[in-house]
């Protein structure tokens, strides 16, 4: 019996009567990586499927799923990250292409030049991957700053005791804003008025939410979010509408579910990106010590396959989280 890659050979050839042959006409590494990638497909399919179920299962006429603006999500940054990953996919495939050409090269000089270009492509891939993670870090920071984390998002409902935590949180945020004068004058005046009403017990959590976010925002989340008004005042301009820089919490219905989905999906994706970057770093170290050349073609093809998969996952995550 013989394995097709010729790596194992029996001492004697056995007359093999069957026409069956072992394995696929692929390098072992490539086959193994594809098997790994299909398991990763199931992994991300589970995460995305859960997100679809959570999102589609909401009674959204009354309490819609948070819009990107509600949760401080910037579509442009998402699009930029998509572009970065697409570029990195291109550079890794070009790295493989240069190595392929280097193997076919006739003379050592051409070969060396092509390998040098391949290393440059590899380095660009690594750098673009790092850019992706840095941009992601900035996005995460924005979420953390606004307390949009699983279990930390305020969702005011009629009987939710969280509303008292919300009241206290907004009170301390207002005190901070007034002390540090972080907003423009009009917003500062509104903050002072709101703080005065909170201290005097004249504002309930829903009224506070409306004064922070504005009546226009509250009306987009009709159901439980309608504040308990004594009189029918007109539309209130929220502090955040006057100055969006104010760090004030407001109620985001289904914000916690959103945050869980967002961090689960993008977090696992970022971990996969990081894993790919570790492998790229190992190759780059090898290149520094002269251990990178046309013989690395298969290895680069394999890490390229992994990297393309990571890119494909992001190609689906970006529209699902940012656009749709």
């Amino acid at each position: 019996m013989r394995a097709l890659n010729g790596e194992l050979q029996m001492a004697h050839d056995v007359a093999d009567h069957s026409k069956l042959h072992m394995g696929l006409p692929l390098p072992n590494g490539k086959l193994a990586l594809w098997i790994f990638l299909v398991t990763e497909i199931t992994f991300f399919a589970a995460l995305i499927g859960t997100y679809m179920l959570l999102r589609n299962g909401q009674p959204t006429a009354n309490t819609p799923w948070p819009t990107p603006h509600d949760v401080h999500l910037n579509e442009f940054i998402g699009a930029f990250n998509t572009f970065v990953l697409i570029c990195s996919s291109l550079t890794v495939v070009l790295c493989h292409w240069y190595l392929h050409e280097a193997r076919k090269a006739a003379d050592a000089g051409t070969r060396a030049a092509l390998v040098k270009k391949a290393v440059l492509c590899l380095f660009t891939t690594f750098a673009l991957g790092c850019v992706f993670l840095v941009v992601k870090a900035f996005e995460y920071k924005a979420k953390i700053d606004h307390q949009i984390l699983p279990g930390r998002v305020f969702e005011l409902r009629n009987d939710n005791p969280q509303r008292y935590v919300y009241l206290r949180t907004v009170k301390s945020q207002l005190e901070h804003i007034i002390e540090h004068k972080e907003v423009n004058d009009e917003a500062l005046a509104l903050c002072k008025a709101l703080l005065k009403d909170i201290d005097e017990g004249k504002a309930n959590p829903w009224q506070i939410n409306e004064r922070v976010a504005g009546t226009k925002y509250v009306k987009t989340k009709p159901c439980d979010m309608l504040p308990k008004k004594d009189n029918d005042a007109g539309d209130i301009k929220g502090i955040l509408e006057v100055d969006p820089r104010a760090h004030l919490a407001y109620s985001i219905p289904y914000g916690n579910l959103w945050a869980s989905s967002y961090f689960a999906m993008t977090g696992f994706h970022a971990i996969h990106v990081f894993g790919g970057l570790v492998v790229f770093a190992i190759f780059l170290l090898g290149a520094m010590f002269g251990k990178f050349g046309p013989e690395s073609e298969l290895a680069i093809e394999l890490i390229g396959l992994y990297w393309h998969f990571v890119d494909i996952v992001w190609i689906f995550l970006f529209p699902l989280l940012y656009l749709v």
Binding site: L4, L26, G49, T60, F83, S89, F316
Partner: protein
């Protein structure tokens, strides 16, 4: 002695040819039957950029609704197909790999169908709202 190629399908490299290179023989040269060119890679890259810009523009112009969602997700599928087909060489390796990839895709579609049942049940639990989250 039997013909060394007797049990090897056409197109398989002869395992007894020895290690001509450091690789198993199917690497690199196996793309002799087909491999994307430099131009093909650049073309796909430009197509991907155009698709991304298109998705972003559709979202900007049409907002969040069923139509834009349909267009954007269709574009996403096209982008994934381009990356998988050309960058990952699936267009050339499909005959060797479909046995592994196709069942997983089938199972994924099955998952979507099963989850749809849960979604529809959730809608019926709230009769005052009947549409999914994209307004």
């Amino acid at each position: 002695m039997s013909d060394p190629n007797e049990n090897i399908a056409p197109g398989f490299p002869d395992p007894r040819a020895g290690h001509a290179s450091a690789h198993p023989p199917a690497a690199g040269d196996d793309h002799g039957h087909a491999a994307p060119s430099f131009g093909a890679y650049m073309g796909v890259f430009i197509a991907l950029c155009v698709c991304t810009a298109l998705s972003f523009a559709v979202n900007l112009l049409l907002g969040q609704n069923h139509t834009s969602a349909g267009i954007i997700l269709a574009v996403a599928v096209v982008k994934a197909a381009l990356v998988a087909g050309i960058f990952m060489h699936l267009k050339f390796d499909w005959g060797k790999l479909y046995c592994i990839i196709l069942p997983v895709c089938v199972v994924t579609v099955m998952m979507v169908i099963i989850l749809s049942i849960d979604s529809v049940l959730a809608w019926h639990a709230y009769p005052e709202s009947s549409f999914p989250s994209i307004k």
